[in-house]
């Protein structure tokens, strides 16, 4: 049996809880729900079923718009921007991190991240700035590549998936490097450049929409996620 046929069979064989079993005797009776009357003589949804789909290809805002930065302070922003230039410069036909709007995107992402993730970034960026001032008496953002390398290289390490280095500076460098690369390679600009170069759309995958979502989960999504006794 093909999968689609199976799903149809399953839907046909599935029954609602109410039709299969009785309610608890103590449960209050459920009153029939009255339909809300339309405000005028014409039913609100008339014609919608006959509507032909619009000839629209939805665009993502990144194709036209910049992300406003709100989280990092000016020094942090400048440091992150310099890291983006160094870690992911334009290469062959691929855009660099700056062209992909990566610093602004990471500002957004970090700003909505849990506090421990924010702290990794804040501490790491502060360490870069502090080392730059100590070693070269200027800000990290204004270091030339060889000066910046003297500060970055002690934090470089190899590591395996799910096991970033434990030492805080190495951990930051590992984290920010992966984040800069991911945000750049998953950007609209990167896909646009691939298209212009005659390549297929990169980083395509099967996206799952919420399956029969529970509305109450949406409203309670601010609940604590990490319950530790």
């Amino acid at each position: 049996m093909r999968r689609r046929d199976f799903v149809k069979t399953l839907m046909a064989a599935s029954v609602t809880a109410a039709s299969a079993v009785a309610q608890k005797p103590a449960a209050p009776p459920v009153l029939p729900h009255k339909a809300t009357p339309a405000p005028g003589p014409v039913p609100w949804e008339r014609g919608l079923m006959e509507l032909k789909p619009l000839p629209i290809t939805p665009l993502t805002a990144d194709a036209f718009a910049q992300t406003d930065t709100q989280f990092f302070n000016p020094t942090e922003t400048a440091t992150l921007r310099r890291l983006c230039e160094l870690f992911q410069p334009a290469y062959k036909h691929h855009p660099g991190a700056i062209d992909a709007g990566t610093p602004q995107f990471l500002d957004f992402l970090t700003g909505i991240s849990p506090e421990d993730q924010q702290q990794i970034y804040r501490s790491g960026l502060a360490r870069l700035e502090s080392d730059a001032q100590q070693q070269f008496s200027k800000s990290f953002a204004s270091l030339d590549p060889s000066q910046a390398d003297k500060i970055i290289r002690p934090g470089l390490s190899t590591w395996m998936n799910d096991h970033p280095p434990a030492e805080p500076f190495e951990h930051f460098i590992a984290t920010v490097q992966v984040d800069i690369r991911t945000a750049t390679e998953n950007s609209h600009a990167w896909a646009d450049a691939a298209k212009k170069a005659g390549e297929g759309t990169p980083n395509l995958d099967l996206y799952w929409y919420p399956v029969d979502p529970d509305l109450r989960r949406q409203v309670s999504s601010g609940a604590h996620s990490d319950q530790v006794s």
Partner: protein, 523 residues
């Protein structure tokens, strides 16, 4: 509508529940299946999208699914959200509980690795003195393994190795690629046997309850199913001791309901089954429910590069393919600092090598990635976690889920046995890979947190003595003869093997026994 008493109520729709439904309905028994989540329709619920079109560019939504390392923004909606169904754990003892409540459960998403347990697992205590033997042996389960392997179309090659039992395989006659042959030869010289892995081919690439088991059950006309209902508790008749009613809540409306059943089969997945028993206060005269939680250690391993495949010279003849090193420690000799053993997943790839394998950045990193493209070779551990009574779960009455059902508290940790095993694996694989001429790019000695393997096992172990076990050797409750538990909570030891084939075989075996008992009027 008059209340109907169903013959068999099956709670859960994954591999174990699907197998129970197939066996029981094919024997003419009417079954009702309850599932906590909805039915997914991939044609309606999925779409191929580029990462840039997702809200977070392929990053997970921050704060979502912190314990599901396998999740990403594409698949985030398939996993249970712990904000909706929380659990608690001891400080510093994080646990990765990875759950799926879609109809079909975790059988929708699994690695397809298909192994039998051997008597080194079923009779582990007899071999090394640790823990307990199962009340059954490989000979008891072998006929069921064979039938399961037929249904799931397990591809494999026989080796005649007792710790890697052969089975009813679709023959795997594929040749080794060049890099794999070198690894096989290097392993042989060091006394490490590298074998072909074994994998369920299923049908059209899917090897799930929803395409291999449940269609047969529905075809009998004997199975009905209710999605979107969360079972809260089971109650027992105080006079007979039999389970007589399941109480559940509609996932969307929160309406409380209940159903009567002659027999209840639990197939909720190890920890949800145990949570249900503990919340119900049943089946626990032994006091063992919730104890002996096990899984398998994953995460330790090495990443290598095959030098001859670099700089554009990778070919399908040289690179690609996978292998498996079955357990080899503590079989004919004794390891110095750990009991039992581990297997190794081995695979190579003609694709890109991950940037984290190079301590470089910028253009230098880009040049490395280009040069090393197509040369990646990887080894990962699958190690046995010992069954310890102190690794246990209980109910945390201070926290409830979205349906006001008290949640599970998980108290488990790895010990030196697991850490030493992981270290031995990394060092052994490094030695074999170097002997094969490969460059080691990265190593990791640390296992992922408990639970990561998605192979939670035990907590309702089987045994002959009702004082020390929850189930008898047929997966039937010692305390309630009409309660049968067919998921992996019955396991006595974990082994290194992906447990799916064993879960399926035990569910098949238990369901046939149950059908016999019902026919004879014993249940």
């Amino acid at each position: 509508m008059p209340e109907e008493k169903v013959d068999v109520l099956i709670i859960g729709s994954g591999h174990s529940g699907g197998m129970a439904a197939k066996i029981l309905t094919e024997k003419g028994i009417n079954c009702l299946m309850l599932n906590a989540g909805p039915v997914a329709d991939t044609h309606k619920d999925t779409e191929v999208k580029p990462a840039y079109a997702l809200p977070y560019r392929g990053f997970k939504q921050p704060g979502q699914l912190p314990h599901v390392f396998q999740s990403n923004e594409f698949n985030a909606n398939t996993w249970v959200d712990e904000r909706e169904v929380p659990y608690t754990y001891e400080p510093g003892q994080s646990y990765n509980w990875v759950r799926v409540r879609l109809f079909g459960g975790r059988s929708l998403f699994w690695s397809r690795q298909s192994f039998r347990l051997s008597d080194y697992e079923f009779k582990g205590k007899s071999h090394d003195g640790y823990g307990d033997d199962w009340p059954i042996s490989l000979a008891d389960v072998a006929p069921y393994y064979s039938r399961v392997e037929g249904i799931f179309r397990v591809s494999g090659r026989p080796y005649g190795i007792p710790q890697y039992p052969d089975g009813n395989f679709v023959p795997d006659n594929s040749p080794w690629t060049g890099c794999m042959q070198r690894f096989v030869d290097a392993g042989k010289a060091k006394g490490v046997t590298v074998c072909k892995a074994r994998s369920s081919m299923g049908v059209d690439g899917l090897a799930s309850s929803v395409n291999l088991l449940l269609p047969d059950a529905f075809a009998t006309g004997k199975l009905r199913a209710i999605p979107n209902v969360v079972v809260r508790s089971l109650t027992a008749d105080p006079n007979t001791g039999l389970i007589n009613r399941a109480h559940f809540v509609d996932r969307i409306s929160r309406r409380e309901m209940s159903v009567q059943a002659r027999v209840v089969v639990l197939a909720c997945g190890t920890l949800e089954t145990t949570r249900l028993l503990l919340n119900s206060g049943i089946a626990n005269s032994s006091g063992v429910v919730g104890h002996y939680l096990m899984d398998q250690i994953y995460g330790a391993g090495i990443t290598c590069s095959v030098p001859e495949a670099r700089d554009g010279k990778s070919t399908p003849q040289l690179m690609g393919g996978g292998a498996l090193i079955p357990r080899f420690r503590n079989i004919n000799s004794k390891a110095s600092n750990f009991l039992r053993g581990y297997a190794v997943n081995v695979f190579s790839s003609g694709g890109g090598v991950d940037p984290r394998n190079f301590a470089e950045y910028g253009d230098a990193l880009n040049k490395k990635l280009e040069g090393y493209h197509g040369s990646g070779f990887y080894c990962g551990i699958m190690g046995e976690v010992l069954g310890r009574r102190e690794n246990h779960v209980s109910i945390d009455k201070t926290v409830s889920d979205a349906w006001d059902i008290p949640v599970l508290h998980i108290d488990t940790k790895y010990t030196d046995n697991e850490f030493n095993m992981a270290r031995d694996m990394v060092d052994t694989c490094t030695a074999v890979a170097e002997a094969a001429g490969f460059e080691i790019l990265a190593k990791n000695y640390d296992p992922n947190p408990p639970g990561y393997s998605i192979h939670e096992l035990g907590t309702c172990r089987m045994g002959d003595d009702p004082k020390t076990s929850v189930l008898n050797k047929w997966n039937q409750s010692h305390d309630h003869k009409n309660l049968w538990i067919v998921d992996a909570s019955s396991f006595v030891s974990s082994g290194w093997q992906n447990p799916t084939m064993t879960i399926l075989a035990l569910s098949m075996r238990a369901s046939e026994k149950l059908a016999d008992e019902m026919r004879q009027g014993n249940v």
